[in-house]
């Protein structure tokens, strides 16, 4: 785990400082770890795996300001993945897994799985249901890769409204994902 922790932490710290390529690599590698972690613990609901992977990735992104760069990364990632997994189990009306099945933070980075399945809840469709002031900034900035300034010109919104729209829109997407299919 040590090496993976080091590498991911380095990628995340660089990503938070504005290195988009490092952040992309961080999320991609994290996705594979999350998939292996969730798949092993959700053997009875293989259809839910990709949804929880996506939900956890979105959560890691939305909550990235709660990572303290002075602290180890694995417990932070594990606590987020565990929270999303337990939340899903509760929604399925199941008793939460026993604590020993989930409590080893180090497990998270031990396995990795690149075989992405199809998610049942489509984030692209949920995105369409967002109000314009959130949807447009996300479409222009995060799907088309435009800058804040360009997005502001295209939409007639102020630059700060564009940033707020992205931020709130991604939180709203997370809330919609949580409400289930």
């Amino acid at each position: 785990m040590g090496d993976t922790e080091e590498r991911l932490r380095d990628l995340l710290v660089r990503g938070l400082a504005g290195d988009g390529a490092a952040y992309h690599a961080f999320l991609r590698e994290l996705g594979a770890h999350l998939r292996a972690f969730v798949r092993k613990r959700l053997a009875r609901h293989p259809d839910d795996v990709e949804d929880i992977v996506q939900e956890s990735l979105l959560a890691v992104h939305n909550q990235r300001h709660t990572y303290d760069a002075g602290q180890p990364l694995t417990p932070w990632l594990h606590a987020i993945a565990r929270y999303k997994l337990v939340d899903q189990l509760r929604r399925n009306g199941e008793a939460p897994l026993g604590s020993d099945a989930l409590d080893e933070a180090a497990d998270l980075l031990q396995a990795s799985d690149d075989r992405a399945a199809e998610a049942r809840r489509d984030i692209a469709r949920l995105l369409e249901a967002l109000p314009e002031r959130q949807r447009l900034p996300i479409v222009h900035m995060k799907l088309e890769g435009r800058s804040v300034l360009e997005t502001a010109r295209l939409t007639g919104m102020s630059e700060s409204a564009v940033k707020v729209g992205v931020h709130r829109g991604l939180k709203a997407l997370a809330a919609k994902l949580r409400q289930g299919p």
Partner: protein, 212 residues
Amino acid sequence: MKTDELVRMLATGALAPASGASYRYGLAMGWGAFAATLLMALTLGVRPDLAEAMREPMFWTKLGWAAALTAASLLAVLRLSRPGARLARVPLAIAAIVAAMWLLGGLALARAARSDWPALFYGETWRTCPFLIAALAAPVLVAALWAMKGLAPTRLRLAGAACGLLAGTAGATVYALHCPELGAPFLGVWYLLGMLIPAALGALAGPRVLRW
């Protein structure tokens, strides 16, 4: 949307992360304490003999005790806002501060004549004290839950309770400027009860309010 596309979307044009815990709680505690103090000054009033009371060591003990509990609760709240952070010895510290007042209370009772015990224990305001503390805590509770909501608590009931305890202890600190009571047995029971009311409310609200 495939997971690869989601990852690309999240990584593209990522903005600077939102403000962290210290900023949010700084704001929450600033406004919360301001509102609680204003509420106290306008509805209850600062005790008229404050200058005199400030010469009593027990006045400072009371204020310092409530402030120490506020600081320890803030530490708990900060840790519970961050996924994977451990509370470690914070609950023990909170318990030790409470126990210190109980010890003072026990000593005060041991030194007093039996006939004075009811006065030391009930004071003159035991009926209202816990509720007034809880009322002053209300704005702090709202502010603390707002701050916590923008972070990432994973144990929602405990996180809500900690927000409530923070509010209750801050409310008690403010209330101490109004309250005429200085008996340690009184403080260890009725002040504590006043702090625990918002903590219980926070525990009830946590799982609903703090989800993310």
